[in-house]
Amino acid sequence: MLAFFLRRILATVPVLVIVALIVFFMLRLAPGDPAAAIVGNSGTADDIALVRASLGLNDALPIQFVRWVGELVQGNLGESFFMKIPVTELISQRIEPTISLAALTLVVAVAVAVPLGVLAAWRHGGWLDRALMGFSVLGFSIPAFVLGYVLIWLFSLHWQLLPVQGYARFENGFIPWIRHLILPSIALSIIYVALIARVTRAAVAEAMTEDYIRTARSKGISEARVLIRHGLANAAVPIVTVIGIGVALLIGGVVVTETVFAIPGLGQLTVEAVLSRDFPLIQGIILFFSVIYVFINLLVDLSYLVLDPRIRY
């Protein structure tokens, strides 16, 4: 177990090296020049040249790469070209809103989707199953931004129950924090509810056909216990896998929701960095996301050990 854990940690190193190489050179080869974006509309070619020199962009690419990696191994992700603020500080400013939104979305999605999926599997082929699967198709089909605007219109503008936009940090109190997150997390969770509910339904339905279910029923165990203790428990591995994928997608995929609800999270930071060609910031964010993804995958793999004793690493 420990050996597996260490092996996986070590395996992240080549992943991060490859990511670093790709992101660095792809950014430099893509169209766009941060210096041109910095000088603005009235700037001239001379201004661009001056700013390029001050940012070190005139140096050969290998020199720039070595400089960046040199800082990286010291734990320094560099400084934003535009804001002159350390990349680590910019990322840390944006982690809380994104993590909060992703966590609440996940809680909502799992709390709604797993019972729905189990119910659908229990009444496999019945009207409840069809209704729930119809709902899941709807969930897949409605874009988060459309649902977001509808929710804002209803709950914020019409009933004036919740704020339209923004994010209140947790340190300023739980109530403002949760009030700002309710609508975005609902808007964002719909697609995950649909995804997790479908996977849960399929996995539980399959488990319910196994011999041990028939054995459990023949022992006179209640149907609810059979469903949860034996059906759901044995379907846990694919469900956890899809939740893990959902978490990874959530961390990087919240950008639309963050934009609609003006939540200053990592998704918006990524888009801003890309649109302004802020190379150090883009590089830092992508490396950060890579670490997050590797870590989530590791957690999912470790969870298999708990959920299925037959699995050994």
Partner: protein
């Protein structure tokens, strides 16, 4: 006993809550969405409008322009020039202090102007004409010119990027190619560096030490009174969310209302639309460095295809938001003139075709760059492409994002090698009100603005404009410059647009009419 204790506790809690609520109410906070997200804090390092607006919050200028465009003293108390305009003396007014409490001195002014003079186009011209700039005492600056420079006041009052803001000497000593790291200024607001969260929030507090001038605020001049304790710039990217937040009372003001939200906000009785900033202008910029627009006849042909009404309608959606304007200066401004040679703002396709024939246009496609991600500009190019085709051009409209466009426009290669022929961008009245303020007004080839036109006559006219202080002569030269712009086909005006600010009706008042967005004098009533 227990009941009494509970009552007492409840009373104390309520009183405390009421006191806290009162304290919160007592602090007036103006929450607004600025023109764009503030990223760069140095108004000399960039020419971005939002950084300029940030500059006006925390810095002050020696002179300013009022809402009519007239230059008036701001940090300066008295000033004088000798008869030939070669020697100037400026004296700072009393009470000027930086946010750290240090007095503003002539040395601070000189160092700030030197840094500005290395980057700003007009600043460079002023310093090229300058023999010496010295401090004769802590409050007096003396400028001695080696040649006539008639635009001293206009340069020092330049309203838009880059305005000559005054920084502390130690900050202004930062090389012009590097961004400053200290935001200490002497303006009416103080930047809260500890609360700065790029992409989320920019916070300013009232500068209690600031001594406003006695005059009524107008433009970037007059008394810069601050009636709120705190201004928060909230970064809300989505236009619909901006409007929703305003209607819901979560913000008090949207500085630039997107065209798509105009009709809905206008119809909302809770919202008031104001136009404190004069109309801006859009222009078609041509690359004169490479064929075919290195031939003035072909450049003229492109300008002849322009249909201002069609272009502006497509981009601005609502007729309240634009008007055709054939002058290169803001319509109704001091240098506005209807004498625009062949240019009428209406398409003249047959004339364009005739010119193309005379010039021997070989049908090589002209590359029109379309910034497809930039909602303020991306509806122009498809219309322009069609107009150019009707005028006889082969057009290759290439879509790219705005950062790619601004990088590509700096390339002098042929379009087939990654260069370009045409792009469109917008300008404020503060840029176009004076030919020497306008960055694209260059005819000095590769040293000039993107497009790199070679036009010796234009440069000569600009030099004459720079040298004179005679307003009648300036007006005549401004007219000649306009004629020359159309003669060489430097660029084509597409029309004027009005940007509105939206405020909560009855809650926000006092916006100052100015060539750029300024946020002093604003009152919040609640």
């Amino acid at each position: 006993m227990k009941t009494k204790l509970l009552r007492l506790t409840a009373l104390v809690a309520l009183t405390g809550a009421a006191a806290l609520a009162h304290a919160q109410d007592a602090e007036k906070v103006l929450r607004m969405v600025p023109q764009a997200d503030l990223k760069v804090l140095d108004p000399i390092w960039t020419t971005a409008f939002v950084t300029r607006d940030h500059g006006y919050m925390i810095y002050d200028t020696l002179f300013g322009v009022d809402e009519q465009g007239k230059v008036k003293p701001q940090m300066v108390d008295t000033y004088s020039a000798d008869a030939d305009g070669l020697n100037w003396t400026l004296t700072l007014r009393e009470g000027l202090r930086f946010h750290d409490g240090q007095p503003v001195t002539a040395e601070d002014v000189i160092q700030s102007l030197k840094r500005w003079g290395q980057r700003d186009n007009l600043g460079q011209k002023m310093f090229a004409a300058l023999e010496t700039i010295d401090a004769s005492d802590a409050k007096t600056i003396k400028l001695q010119f080696k040649q006539p420079f008639g635009m001293v006041l206009e340069a020092l009052a330049k309203p838009s990027s880059n305005p000559p803001f005054i920084l502390p000497k130690k900050v202004a000593e930062t090389p012009a190619g590097e961004q400053i790291a200290d935001t200490t200024g002497s303006g009416p607001y103080i930047f809260k560096a500890d609360e700065f969260r790029p992409g989320e929030k920019v916070v300013y507090t009232k500068n209690q030490q600031y001594v406003p001038r006695a005059e009524t605020p107008s433009g970037t001049t007059g008394g810069k009174h601050v009636y709120v304790d705190r201004v928060e710039w909230l970064i809300i990217k989505d236009a619909q969310t901006q409007a929703n937040a305003l209607v819901n009372g979560e913000i008090d003001m949207v500085s630039w209302v997107p065209a798509g939200q105009y009709a809905a906000l206008k119809a909302n009785p809770q919202i008031e639309l104001l136009a404190p900033v004069p109309k801006g202008m859009y222009a078609m910029h041509l690359n004169h460095h490479v064929p075919p627009f290195n031939n003035p006849k072909i450049a003229q042909a492109a300008i002849l295809t322009l249909n201002q009404e069609a272009l502006m309608r497509a981009q601005m959606i609502n007729q309240d938001l634009y008007n055709p304007c054939t002058s290169i200066y803001p319509c109704g401004s001091a240098y506005d003139s209807g004498n625009t040679a062949y240019f009428t703002g209406k398409p003249q396709f047959e004339k364009a075709k005739q010119l193309l024939k005379e010039a021997g246009y070989d049908g090589t496609p002209v590359v029109l760059m379309n910034p497809s991600d930039f909602t303020l500009l991306n509806k122009f190019p498809p219309v322009l492409a069609q107009l150019l085709k009707q005028g006889g051009f082969n057009v290759d409209m290439q879509s790219l994002d705005w950062p790619s466009l601004v990088a590509r426009r700096a390339k002098k290669d042929l379009p087939k090698d990654g260069g370009w022929n045409i792009f469109i961008t917008g300008w404020g009245a503060s840029d176009t009100m004076n030919p020497l303020y306008f960055a694209p007004m260059t005819g000095n080839g590769e040293k000039g603005w993107f497009g790199w036109a070679v036009d010796d006559k234009l440069e000569q006219l600009k030099s004459e404009f720079l040298a004179t202080m005679d307003e009648a002569k300036r007006k005549d030269l401004a007219q000649q410059i306009q004629t020359q712009v159309f003669e060489t086909g430097l660029y084509g005006p597409l029309g004027e647009s009005q940007n509105y600010s939206a405020v909560r009706k009855g809650v926000v008042s006092g916006l100052v009419n100015a060539p750029i967005s300024v946020f002093w004098n604003i009152k919040k009533h609640n």
